[in-house]
Amino acid sequence: MLSDENLFSQFLKGDINAFEKLYARYRESLYTYLLRSSRNHAEADDIYQDAWSRVINAKVPFTTGTFKSYIFKIARNLQIDHHRRSHIHLVGDNEQLEDIADSKPTMERQLDGEDCGDRLLSEVAVLPYDQRDAFLLKEESGLTMEQIATMLEVGRETIKSRLRYAMKRLREALEDCL
C-alpha cells in the first residue's frame, strides 16, 4: 500500500486516483475531529472544505513531517482563525455549545439511560479546549505525543499533561462503564 506522502506527490503530478485514495483515508477522521472539536456542523463543514482546498492548491509538497500532521495542522489552524474572527473563546469551559455537546451533568445522563459511548462523547465535548484538542488529535489522527507536540509547537510534557488531565476527567465520568 502506498504511503500518504507518495499518494500526495502522485496527485501533484496529475494523478486524480491518488487524491481519491488519500481523501478516503482522512475523510472520516478529519471531519470527526473538526466536528467534535468545534461542536458546530456548519463551522465543521466550512473548515473541512477549506482545509482540503488548501491541500489541493498546494504549490509544492510539504517538506517536513507526515501528510497526516500536515492536513490536521491546516484544519486546526483554520479552526483557530475562525474562532478568532468570531470572537469565540476556546480556552475554558465557557465555549458556545451546540447540540453535540450535551451540558447535562453526568448523573442525569446516567439516569436517562445513555450508553457508555454516548456518555464518553458528551464528556469529551465538555472538556476544556486544550485537553479536548489534545485528546481528539491523539484519537482521530493517531499521531504520537511527540508528533502532536511538534504540530502544536509546544513541549512534549505539555501535551502529556493535557492528556493526563483529560483522561482523569473521563475516567471519573465513566467510572461505572469501565
Binding site: F19, A44, D45, I56, N57, L121, E139, M167, L178
Partner: protein, 248 residues
C-alpha cells in the same frame, strides 16, 4: 502496566468504537471536483509553450541594438570631412562652341531615325512591288528607281560626313595662332551667321564671306572669317582669305 493505563486504553477503545461523523456527499463531490479542476489547469499550463528569459528579451534587445547602430553610423557620417566630387567645367574662351557641339550631338539622334524610317519605308514599298509583279518585269521597272535611290543614299552620306565634321571638337584658336576679338566670341553664334544653311555648309559660308568682301564690307567679312575658322579649324582656306586673316 498500571491500572490507570488499563482504564485509559479502555476509554480509547470505547471512543474508537463510537460512531464517526461523516461529511455530506455534496462536500465530498465539491472537493473532488476542485481536485480535478486543479489537475486540468496544470495540464493546460503544461501545454502552453514556455517562453524562456532569452526569448522574452529578443525583440527589445534587437530594437535597442538597431537604434544604437543607426545612431553611431549617422554620427560617424556627420563627423567625416565633406569631400566634393563635382568636377568643374573648364572655363575657356571656346566654351560656347563646345556647348554648341554637344547640343548638336544630342540633336542628331532625333534626326537620324526620321531619315532611316523614310528609307525603310521606301525599301518596304519596293519589296512589295517585287512580290506583287513578275520578277523580270519588276527588275525592269525597279532599275531607274534603284539608281535614284543610290543617289539619295550618296547625298545622305555626304551630308552626314559634313555633320560629323561640324561635331568634331574644334581646336582652340590660340593654338592656331589666331586671337579672336572678344566681341566676336561673345556674340551668339547663330546671330552672326546669315542663315542656318551657311552655318552647316562651309562652302556656302566661304561664298558668303567672299560676297561681303566684294561688297566692301571688310570688317564684317573678317568677323565672319574668324567665326568660320573657329567653327572649321581644319578647313583649308582660300589663299586670299588666309592672307586677310593673317593681316588682321
Amino acid at each position: 502496566m498500571s491500572n490507570e493505563e488499563h482504564i485509559d486504553q479502555a476509554i480509547s477503545k470505547l471512543y474508537q468504537s463510537s460512531k464517526k461523523a461523516e461529511p455530506s456527499t455534496e462536500i465530498d463531490a465539491a472537493i473532488l471536483v476542485q481536485a480535478r479542476e486543479r489537475l486540468n489547469k496544470n495540464k493546460s499550463k503544461q501545454a502552453k509553450p514556455s517562453v524562456n528569459k532569452w526569448q522574452r528579451w529578443v525583440v527589445p534587445l534587437s530594437t535597442a541594438a538597431l537604434v544604437v547602430m543607426g545612431v553611431s553610423i549617422t554620427l560617424k557620417i556627420m563627423n567625416q570631412p565633406q569631400t566634393s566630387y563635382q568636377l568643374e567645367m573648364p572655363v575657356t574662351e571656346t566654351g560656347f562652341i563646345e556647348k554648341k557641339a554637344l547640343k548638336d550631338e544630342a540633336a542628331v539622334p532625333a534626326e537620324q531615325p526620321a531619315a532611316t524610317m523614310m528609307l525603310e519605308a521606301e525599301s518596304d514599298a519596293m519589296m512589295q512591288e517585287i512580290q506583287e509583279e513578275q520578277p523580270a518585269r519588276a527588275l525592269q521597272s525597279i532599275a531607274p528607281k534603284a539608281k535614284a535611290r543610290a543617289s539619295t543614299i550618296e547625298k545622305a552620306q555626304k551630308s552626314e560626313h559634313k555633320k560629323s565634321l561640324q561635331r568634331s571638337a574644334p581646336m582652340a584658336p590660340e593654338a592656331m595662332g589666331i586671337r579672336p576679338n572678344s566681341e566676336v566670341l561673345n556674340a551668339p553664334l547663330k546671330e552672326s551667321v546669315s542663315s542656318e544653311i551657311e552655318w552647316s555648309d562651309p562652302e556656302a559660308w566661304i561664298a558668303r564671306i567672299n560676297q561681303l568682301l566684294d561688297n566692301a564690307q571688310k570688317g564684317k567679312a573678317i568677323g565672319e572669317l574668324e567665326r568660320f575658322v573657329i567653327a572649321y579649324p581644319e578647313y583649308p582656306l582660300p589663299l586670299e582669305l588666309n592672307k586677310l586673316l593673317n593681316d588682321e
